[in-house]
Subunit: 234 residues, 2 copies
């Protein structure tokens, strides 16, 4: 399997390209609209056919490339079943599996950062989970807007992600310190918001982060509800 | 095997931590001094014992953490045999192999970016090569100082790296556009400085890049000739 992690430095976003093999079919997870030229170059050079473009949730810090990728590649746009983006072609149910050309991706409903956030588990010899913003490396996504809920975040992480197993690689939607991946074991044992904490303590931590709104929020959220194309398809 | 790519955003540098397993022995390649707190955290949390810290070459854009890592972990500092850094504990010869607790790393002399640059090939089910600055993703390292030589760069890439095989993953010392890895096949076929070019054309391209000197060069090179500790060991 081809697995590529790509970083958008403007928003600190990780996007993921998965393909079965050169010449095979591919998926994109959490693509960023400004990176479209790079994505099209990579799809061409790897000689892969994009069949699905997925977001883990409605992002507030960057504009998605879902619609732009669909326009160019005719891929399906995909989100979790509680997304309010009516531009999406397919809504994944909790525990639904996408099997694409040898890539097995399972959707896991993990609300908390938003009320419609999903994580995507990737099977294979080295299982991995793309956690979007619910679980970050030694951190977690804020829970103070878009239906965010700290209790739901705790439950998603501890009841849905931790049971995936200690060896599972964790690939987040963001990292701001240059770390590219982690494991469930590391986050269970060393994430400072989770390790040794109670659910009540976590809720208290998240209630007191006092973060400013994302700079792009007022633009990004409405744009992303239209798959990144509020002006209509290109 | 544990493999971690870490990014220093200030200098755009990728560093690599390899370890056999939790509780096992580890290597660092191209560590950045400013990232020491993160490295020590990760070594502790992964419960690995650092036995070697290697640089691919004498960097001109950041200060190495080799000396600082040695001070804290008692690891050996390692560079290629043509390094002028007399602080180094072990100088690898061309084709010399380090076997550490199940990790097999082979040193490949790849001059061109500097006259003492080595690449490090990592064996295993998915071979990979850490190319430092001689081969970048869709680019190559500049060849205009520190004994750089465009012809040597061409020869290193085409005669030492390309023969590693198309499936070999390429992990570079830098990327400035958010790409994290590549393959030998991609660079052979799609690197714009190499694909379809002759050696003479490559030399001409490299002679006309007209790049400014790295901002940190006057500080970084002398510091790195002392393993990042021009003031003496901490």
């Amino acid at each position: 399997m081809i697995f590529r992690q790509l970083f958008d430095s403007t928003s600190g976003t990780y996007s993921y390209l998965l393909a079965s093999r050169r010449g095979g079919e591919a998926l994109f997870v959490d693509p960023v609209r400004e990176q479209m030229p790079a994505y099209l170059q990579l799809l061409t050079e790897l000689d892969v056919r994009l069949v699905h473009a997925l977001d883990t949730h409605t992002h507030a810090d960057h504009v998605t490339a879902l619609g732009a990728l669909r326009d160019v590649t005719q891929c399906r746009t995909v989100m979790g079943e509680f997304s309010r983006a009516d531009c999406v072609d397919h809504y994944l149910s909790d525990d639904e599996t996408l099997d694409v050309d040898g890539i097995r991706l399972r959707a896991i409903y993990t609300p908390g950062h938003t009320n419609e956030s999903f994580s995507y588990w990737i099977g294979g010899p080295q299982p991995a989970v793309l956690t979007g913003d619910v679980l970050l490396i030694r951190g977690t996504g804020r829970t103070d807007f878009q239906g965010g809920d700290a209790g739901a975040s705790w439950d998603s992480i501890t009841q849905r992600l931790f049971p995936l197993g200690d060896e599972t690689l964790v690939y987040p939607g963001h990292d701001y310190k240059g770390w590219t991946c982690s494991t469930i074991e590391e986050e269970r044992r060393f994430n400072p918001r989770l390790a040794g904490r109670t659910r009540a303590e976590y809720i208290d931590i998240m209630a007191n982060l006092n973060l400013p709104d994302p700079k792009m929020m007022d633009v990004a959220v409405p744009a992303n509800l239209a798959c990144g194309q509020p002006e209509g398809r290109d």
